[in-house]
Assembly symmetry: none
Homo-oligomer: 225 residues x 2
Amino acid sequence: MLIVEDDPTVLEVASTYLRSAGFVVTAATDGFTALQLAASSSPDLIVLDRMLPGIDGAEVCRRIRAESAVPIILLTAMSSTDDRIDGLEAGADDYLTKPFSPRELVLRVQSILRRSVNDLTPEASFDLGPFSLDPAARIIRRDGRELALSAREFDLFSFLLKHPRQAFNREQLLRAVWHWEFGDLSTVTVTVRRVREKIEDDPTDPVILVTVWGVGYRLDLEGTT
Amino acid sequence: MLIVEDDPTVLEVASTYLRSAGFVVTAATDGFTALQLAASSSPDLIVLDRMLPGIDGAEVCRRIRAESAVPIILLTAMSSTDDRIDGLEAGADDYLTKPFSPRELVLRVQSILRRSVNDLTPEASFDLGPFSLDPAARIIRRDGRELALSAREFDLFSFLLKHPRQAFNREQLLRAVWHWEFGDLSTVTVTVRRVREKIEDDPTDPVILVTVWGVGYRLDLEGTT
DNA sequence: CTGATTCTTACGAAACGCGGACGGTCGCCG
DNA sequence: CGGCGACCGTCCGCGTTTCGTAAGAATCAG
């Protein structure tokens, strides 16, 4: 989830609400950063302000759309028909006119995501090191062999595959994978262990799903390539 | 934390409040110095007066923004809409109209920083001399080899990597790295020693993490390049 | 030389990660 | 309908790592 918004107040409120709804939120405050993040972090949805310093929001939308089918919600200041048409032409999936209630933003986001899940637009599969992730089929393979992951294990490991080389603490994982706001952190520990059992050559000495002492866990690929 | 303000009274009051809130404060009184300091000391936040002798504040803001994503709070004399829009266009994250209460400034600063900390926006990696810092993965390498730093050691050394060539006393480090308001200063001494053990060629005679006698420590790069 | 400052070492408490195990829930199949 | 097994969250005990603190040695400035 990527939010692009230059007004700090709006950004703060929106990201707080979205986070508490269980999303992992990344933020940008200008079009240029937005394009970079959209390309590098491959978010599953983008909330995009129409008015941006530098590159215009609609233009950002067009450029992202040229390379990806990621759902985009456009935030527009006015509700003029022109703007609306512009937005839809630029390839936005939905739009919201300011001022909007953060609650409503969350609802739209959820609705869009539900729709895009239901859409026959399957998330793209991709390879990473020896692993290949097929989100639609909910299958992860290692060297072509399918891994027998349970539902939770799949969710956790596919999240990490989507965000490799990044250390997460247990709370972040609990929010992003379990969609819990609070809870027993050892749940994460145990699930990590169960995943290791299935993906590591030597679960006793993990080289892929590495523990970052005092912090959390990280998906490393050095040990595999 | 960098404050740019030509009025000595305002500067004095603001920096006093921010310091007592636990920030390490650097000051400049004109735009030119501000640009230099912004580049050399890589502050984590900048408070910038709109009206400055020499280069205009908004212009300074634009130039800093062209090279860095550091949060900027703009201080404006008037509250006219024009100013406000100008400021946001220049890339400021927040603005405050004079006269403002120092208490409010501190609150805004904390709010902005809290936001950028909470964001899962992966901080960008960078190289400095023989070192490379990847904040997201929590990895520091020297000449490509990963250093086995503990959590605290990583926090301390990455702070210094982000602020090289700058001397910090132990209290400042205790606040910036440990987030302690008070505490035993020898904690810093010992952690510095532990870091040296891992990064210096000869920990007995440090050339990177140098002692500044009577003051504290500084990250030097002369010894490495 | 003297006092202040920094370095070094050592210790122990606390934090942390891990494996093992338990029990409740749910879906499947006989 | 009852039993079985997979799944998953929780809990406990153990070994390890970390890290603050203290205390003596070494170093520096004046």
